[in-house]
């Protein structure tokens, strides 16, 4: 019932918040969604990918291009983007896992993949290369576009709630158990009948598809996509920070971590009552960096372990 109360508060928030705080909240919810998406592969299945910006970018570009070229509403386009990302992720995984890459090697392969994608995108005229695409929307709300800021908040909130539910259901499903087994000990998992190759691939594919939704939301919120905004390391960093600080492998850890990092971070930017917040923003990032390091050293399970008895 805590959940219902939290939801009620969350739903009522826009009524009390000014536009600045509202934007911060939207950014935080978006970050939490992304973190949970990455968490599916990295937290539950232990596949520490550094290339998720690739999937974020696919989502952002897919719904955008489909809208501008075919007039397909991004409400539908984002599902196409997710499917595309899922396929790309799946193919990538199928190819990579055949070579039994683990740990840092796997991480570097995924990083390489994202970098290759960015390089190619910068040279692909179809998506306007480095110049990027500016979105001009025709219909609100049919085209996933709103004239006011509040609806974006509710969409982001709905997406996050859905993602939390998906995570919780995953945790309680056989698929989730297979992910955990693969994460803990692949050899022992195999000996227990778990097809690790298959489930690692599913984990990446699923995680990729979910990440793409976040990319589409980004495109619709900021109305501009380019390789330098969606295919850089930034989204990856956001996902990782929120998840690792909050608690990887849990449904609420990444939410806590993201709300803390991204929400607060955004809120400190452009504070309405301060002339220049540059120093505060930069300083806060330094504080976050220290917090990240401290948490990783002393609370390797993430902040969420504070709420539980010592493991």
């Amino acid at each position: 019932m805590v959940a219902v109360a939290a939801l009620a508060i969350a739903a009522a928030l826009p009524l009390a918040a000014g536009p600045h705080l509202l934007t911060a909240m939207i950014v935080a919810l978006h970050a939490a969604f992304m973190a949970l998406a990455w968490n599916v592969a990295a937290g539950y299945a232990g596949q520490f990918s550094l290339g998720h910006s690739l999937f974020y970018g696919i989502g952002a570009y897919a719904s955008t291009v489909l809208y501008l070229r075919l007039g397909l509403t991004p409400w539908a386009g984002m599902f196409v983007g997710a499917a595309l990302a899922g396929i790309v992720g799946g193919l990538l995984a199928l190819g990579v896992y055949r070579y039994k890459v683990h740990g840092i090697f796997f991480a570097l392969v995924t990083l390489g993949a994202a970098e290759v994608a960015k390089g190619l995108a910068d040279n692909w005229a179809f998506i306007k290369g480095p110049v990027g695409i500016l979105l001009t929307m025709q219909n609100a709300p049919g085209d996933f576009f709103f004239l006011r800021r509040e609806p974006y908040y509710y969409v982001a909130l709905a997406m996050l709630v859905a993602m939390i539910v998906i995570s919780l259901r995953l945790e309680r499903s056989p698929l989730g158990q297979y992910f955990l087994a693969v994460r803990e000990d692949e050899q022992a998992a195999e000996a227990s009948g778990v097809d690790s190759y298959r489930y690692k691939t599913i984990a990446i594919s699923l995680s990729a598809a979910l990440t793409a939704f976040a990319g589409s939301f980004y495109a619709q919120f900021y109305l501009y996509v380019s390789p330098d905004t969606v295919l850089i390391f930034e989204p990856q960093l956001t996902m990782m920070l929120g998840t690792m600080v909050g608690g990887a492998g849990t449904a609420f850890g990444p939410v806590i971590g993201s709300l803390l990092f991204s929400g607060l971070g955004e809120a400190l930017r452009n504070l309405p009552f301060l002339e220049s917040t540059r120093g505060i923003v930069i300083g806060s990032k330094m504080v976050y960096a220290v917090l990240l390091i401290v948490v990783l050293i002393y609370l390797p399970g993430g902040l969420i372990t504070l709420g539980r008895k010592g493991a």
Binding site: P174, Q177, Y178, E184, D185, Q187, A188, A191, S192, Y197
Partner: protein, 242 residues
């Protein structure tokens, strides 16, 4: 009658080392077969080849009439061959129940059913009290039991045990012998690697002796006790039939 497990002239080489050389033997349904030999004889390598960790260079592995040479480990498990690891590999952060349930999911694809099966096996293995403890907090003996529980939960027709009696105190060894006997009585055939000769001599209907990757003797425990080749291989080690 066709054997449950038929290892046919299996060979395996690692660089300059011939780990297995034309190893051949069978395990019939309902048997407990012991696999002994000095350190480095190739016993665990044989387990790894049989369960698909790596394929043999030569020879075939036939399980339940199907050629499973080189098949992935999860496939062997699905077909009914489950193994434990010499150095137990618990799922460190998962609870005892979660761990065994993953094994149970092998045959029972839903969470509720798998949980019931897992609890059943935990009860049998005496670990029910530890169901919510994370794997890494268990003692050595408990980890061995957990290994066996997880393997049992997969509902195998053949259980491959790798040195489950190692490092145990005398009373624990007796418990382990009784445990393996009751598992076999439940209809599961067993292939057991063991260094604690007392355990393997008491449990096995038949014993296969490995040395330097070759089968040097095979037969009933009583027959082998005086076999010159076996004694030779264990030169310096004293043992007796209890």
């Amino acid at each position: 009658m066709a054997a449950l497990l038929d290892v046919r002239s299996v060979s395996k080489r690692f660089g300059g080392l011939q780990a297995l050389s034309r190893v051949a033997f069978t395990v019939d349904a309902g048997e407990i077969v012991g696999l002994i030999g000095p350190n480095g004889a190739g016993k665990t390598t044989l387990f790894n080849v049989v369960t698909g960790v790596y394929p043999p260079d030569d020879g075939r592995v036939v399980f339940r009439g199907e050629d499973v040479t080189g098949a992935a480990p999860h496939r062997l498990c699905k077909l009914g061959a489950a193994r434990t690891f010499q150095v137990s590999k618990p799922f460190a952060t998962l609870t005892v129940l979660q761990t065994v349930r993953i094994g149970a999911l092998n045959r029972i694809p839903d969470m509720a059913g798998a949980t019931v099966k897992a609890l059943e096996v935990l009860e049998l293995m005496g670990l029910a009290g530890k169901r919510d403890e994370p794997g890494r907090t268990l003692t050595v003996m408990e980890r061995k039991r957990l290994e066996m529980a997880r393997a049992l939960a997969t509902q195998p027709s053949l259980l491959l045990l790798d040195e489950v009696a190692a490092g145990l105190r005398p009373n624990e060894i007796q418990d382990m012998i009784a445990l393996v006997r009751s598992i076999a009585a439940g209809g599961v055939s067993v292939l057991i690697i063991e260094h604690v000769l007392e355990a393997v001599m008491r449990l096995s209907a038949r014993i296969v002796v490995l040395n330097h990757g070759e089968v040097i003797a095979e037969g009933r425990p009583a027959e082998l006790a005086n076999d010159a080749r076996v004694i030779d291989a264990y030169l310096g080690e004293a043992y007796s039939l209890a």
